[in-house]
Amino acid sequence: MNRVHRSTLANGLRLAVVPIADLRSTSVLLAVEAGQWFEPAGRPGIARLVAQTMLRGTKRRDAASWASALDDLGAVARLDAGAHAAVFSAQCLGDDLGALLALMAEAVRTPALADAEIEFVRGQTLAQLEKDERDTRAVSDRAWRQLVYPAGHPFHAPAIGDPAVVRSATADEIRAYHQRAIAPDGAVLIVAGGTTPEAAKKAAEDALGDWPKRAKGRDADHPPVTLASTKRRVELVPDKTQSDVIIGWPGLPRTDPRFTAVRVTNMVYAADTFASRAGNVIRDQLGLAYYVFSGIGASCGQSPWIVRMGVNPQNVHRAIEVALDELRKITVGQIADDDIALAKDKLVGELDVALESPAGVAAMVLEAEMFDLGDDHFERYPRELRAVTKDQVVETARTFLPPDRYALAVAGPALPEALV
């Protein structure tokens, strides 16, 4: 990893710059603590509505003019509301960094949030929600979240939100959320690629230096989520060929010191279709699925820790049994030493390979900065991965992935037998 140049602007915005020689482009990530975790209770979808409307005109220019200015640079950009943060992500030519950050700042700090634009975003979001209702991946995700997280919890619904909330959100509610949540304190700006620390800092100061600091309410405290028993839900999605299956558990915050062991455990179990145990058996040995993978989100809450599979309805029951059986083996220590060594090697090796792209570098730095993992994180992290023991993997699986208490969601065609 090239050196990370860190600084903090007077308003509290943290800046991390990673210059990469020989590149013409620069990746930019501005993460503001305005994701699902910070949404008003019981109002899933507000964060995304705000994020999308911020891209539709500013107090200075209308949506079409702002979009043309962005395209004039040849830049690509988007603004997504994730589990933790709302992230403006972009790529531009290195010389255009100042102009890109100026456009970004305009959208983030002074969006018009005009009534007509709110209605446009509402219409687009409802269209996507309608499409999602017949998408087996989206349906299984929605169903799984409803099984695990109680109503009112920020992860009860996917980031796109609940259709009733999207329909009922008022312009005042959207403007109030922007006023409350979109602020520089807690925010992080990452710049990686064809730039210099000086040029990036100047561009950041010019665009965001006078962004007023605000005291943000930090009332996002939610009781722990636990699964007392196994929960299952099957949702019929008509005229589909394949079932989407999610088996999962509530995870743990990225700041938890056990997260490194979680990453290794995840890799041993199912993170990779080819290198992990679940995929090896389900796809390679039994031919039951084209893809099997697991993942855990990085947030300050209990993001989903889930295994996903695409399976023919005839094979759903068996694939689930095999996935759980592989997990049981891990919880009783039936893990080859080489499986753990492989998982660690892969996670460490991926850190090097990610350096091939400015976006890969920016993503790694964002996680480190967002969750205060320390200035020496990139030196420590490979060592910490290497230090994870078999006992820790077993303990992590027992604690967070109990095979007798899980949430299962299946979406797709009718199944030949009931899931028990």
């Binding site: 979009a67 269209a127 499409k131 017949r134 394949q242 892969k346």
Partner: protein, 412 residues
Amino acid sequence: MLYALEARHAPVVSLWVWYHVGGRNEVPGTTGMSHFLEHMLFKGTQKHPKGDLDRLLARYGAQWNAFTSEDVTCYFETVPKAHYKTALELESDRMRNALISLEETEAERTVIVSEREGYENDPSFLLGEELQAIAFSRHTYGQGVIGSKDEIKLMTRDGLYAHYRRFYAPNNAYVVVTGDDEPERLIEEAAAAFGPLDPSTDLGEPPKAPEPEQHGERRVTVHRAGGTLPIVMLAFRAPRATDPRAAAISALTVALAGTSTGSDGASGRSSRLHRALVETGLAADVDASFQLMKDPYLFFVDATLRPGIKHADVERVLLEELAKLSQDLLAEAEFARVRRQLLAATAFNTDTITWRSYRCGQLLSTGAANSISEWYAKLAAVTREEIRDAAAGLFVERSRNVGHFVPEGDAS
């Protein structure tokens, strides 16, 4: 053929092996064979039994995969540079020594069926497959790549093995490598790995099934239950990658739909189709695509409709927009924007070592250009007149294929 590029910004090497075999080399009844074979190349050789390659590459943290298209089958791995030799050893070994056992063929068959079933869940795939099929009456491009479920079930081990021995050989492959070393050294090591391999003796001539001129619009409608959003998809006959118009058509794609996809992205919103369809509330999403192909293929335009909007209304607006580009020059400012987007996108893609290697291999294997810089120069030289003329040549009614996806009531 071996080709190397230097990229010093990260300690990795990206190795790509391109075989000149894909859907175009297949005949009805065995459609999907090249794709099936791609899966079998991960099932082991004498030297590296099944699982060896997966675990070795995983151990390096490699980014690796493979894909099959109508024209080519491609394998790649991006590895820390210390492991470049191992990547070469794995690729050269499976170029001629894959086992393709009967047992593994049977085990993989259900995986490929599962892959196909996953695609079938997506209305865009279903419509695109049907549209591709009606757009070609002779050329094998009409068959697609993955094959039907029945064909996948009928594929034999011996057929796969014969296909393998015929097409997987150094005299039918491009090796493109990009990474943190001098190109001469990268090539030298690749030559040492692939040079000793025996060539195929029965490659034969490339498939020749020229597609006759189309003399009238063709239409297809796909009905599925479930209430997802309707889609309109248009496919026009488009020239091959070596055609002098290919760069102008790439620019035309940007004028129509920008360089990024997805309706929730911020970029591409100044494009013609976004303004005419998304901003007006007719469509939730629009796209246009032109692929560099060995033979004349298709230029696709598609729109996912907003709820309650009629196919005919969206199709009409799409055709109006295409007609405008066929008749009028882009305004100077719009042309400058399109050109900037096109050239910037090239820089974005090629700043990632894996995609720099891919782009180079794609240009070489299709004959579009001899290098990324040559292709960049072609894009940079495109004029407004060439874009208009390219549109006029493409968007004609008699070579138009139109597909509608019609969601129907809940079948449950």
